[in-house]
């Protein structure tokens, strides 16, 4: 009789454990409250800190337009892109190009502050980790508004409030100002490496979310990127 009861206790315990685990796997979209519950307070996440560089000789691993579920509206934006009107010629460089260009970045992690410093156009992103939500009255900016939380050792970042632009030079892969970007930063086992899984959700231009994953190695240094406007090439300001 004791043996059966032990089995029942074990079964009940196992069931409760599984139920508890599954209740933590909610849809992560927009919920910054999850972080503290999952975070190990002793983990300083130092393996993600530092200077990181993606191989500048390799083509950044963006899919082609044909490989993403682009809507006709999105395709229309690809087709109508005019290089001479690229704001980048006027040194206005948007989120998509900043995070994916072949220049290094620095991840600063300090308690509930995560700051990313990009060599490209010396841009900065502040990731708010204190459980706050995005403001209701965001107007679109170049780098948007980011909140984040820890899922064990993975940094999850949600960004909205971006000015619509393109992820790639040459007008491929557009995004609208309603885009939601989810990034997952994690450390790869073995040699010190950073992996970023970058997910784009933008029903205006893509029928479904799509993702791309990048691997970074520790960078030697960050240089100044000084963008010079060549007036005769810059698009006329609106």
């Amino acid at each position: 009789m004791t043996g059966n009861r032990s089995v029942y206790v074990l079964l009940i315990f196992a069931t409760l454990s599984i139920a508890a685990c599954e209740s933590l796997e909610e849809d992560i979209v927009g919920d910054a409250e999850k972080g503290p519950a999952n975070a190990n307070p002793l983990d300083d996440h130092s393996e993600l800190s530092g200077l990181w560089y993606n191989d500048p000789g390799a083509t950044r691993n963006w899919p082609s337009t044909a490989e993403v579920p682009i809507t006709p509206t999105g395709q229309g934006l690809v087709d109508s892109w005019v290089q001479d009107e690229d704001p980048m010629l006027g040194c206005i460089i948007g989120f998509g190009r900043i995070v994916s260009a072949p220049f290094p970045m620095e991840l600063l992690i300090d308690g509930d502050r995560v700051t990313i410093l990009y060599e490209y156009d010396h841009q900065i992103r502040r990731i708010y980790m204190d459980g706050r939500d995005h403001p209701d009255d965001l107007y679109p900016t170049l780098m948007g508004h980011s909140v984040g939380y820890w899922e064990n050792s993975t940094l999850v970042v949600e960004t909205i409030g971006l000015e619509g632009s393109y992820f790639r030079p040459s007008g491929a892969l557009p995004y609208s100002d309603s885009v939601r970007i989810t990034e997952r930063y994690s450390s790869l086992p073995g040699e010190k490496q950073l992996q970023i899984e970058f997910t784009v959700t933008d029903p205006n231009y893509y029928r479904e979310p799509w993702s791309v994953t990048w691997t970074y190695s520790p960078a030697a240094e960050i240089l100044e990127y000084r963008c010079i406007v060549r007036e005769h090439l810059a698009p006329e300001s609106q």
Partner: protein, 138 residues
Amino acid sequence: MKNLMTILIVGVTFMAIVSGHAHHSFTADYNREKSATIEGTVTEFWFENPHTRIYMEVKNENGEMEAWEVETMTPNVLRRMGWRPDTFKPGQKLTAAGSLARNGANRISLSILTLEDGTQMKPMPTDEQRDAFYDQEP
């Protein structure tokens, strides 16, 4: 009227197909199928973003001097490969090969530079140069 409509439709369709190819910023500016090699003297070297440029004076087939522009990578990558703002100086002799600008301008997008002593320089890092981009742990 019907013939005119046909011509218009065909014409517009043709233009749409042709213009649709100018997607990539490189191919919008440069013709990968048409390359040029120019030999001459440096007049200016602009080591700045977004594209580093070397201006040269080149003698053409008629013996006339022409001004040419050699466009290449961001200095942020070139610097990591050892290029510096004074890597090229006015008066220096160079040979530059690359894709020709589409719009007929005297401009190429650099593939290979050859110095007077025969040394070749490419604007993409060699494996050895690439090592310098990364933190090499002792």
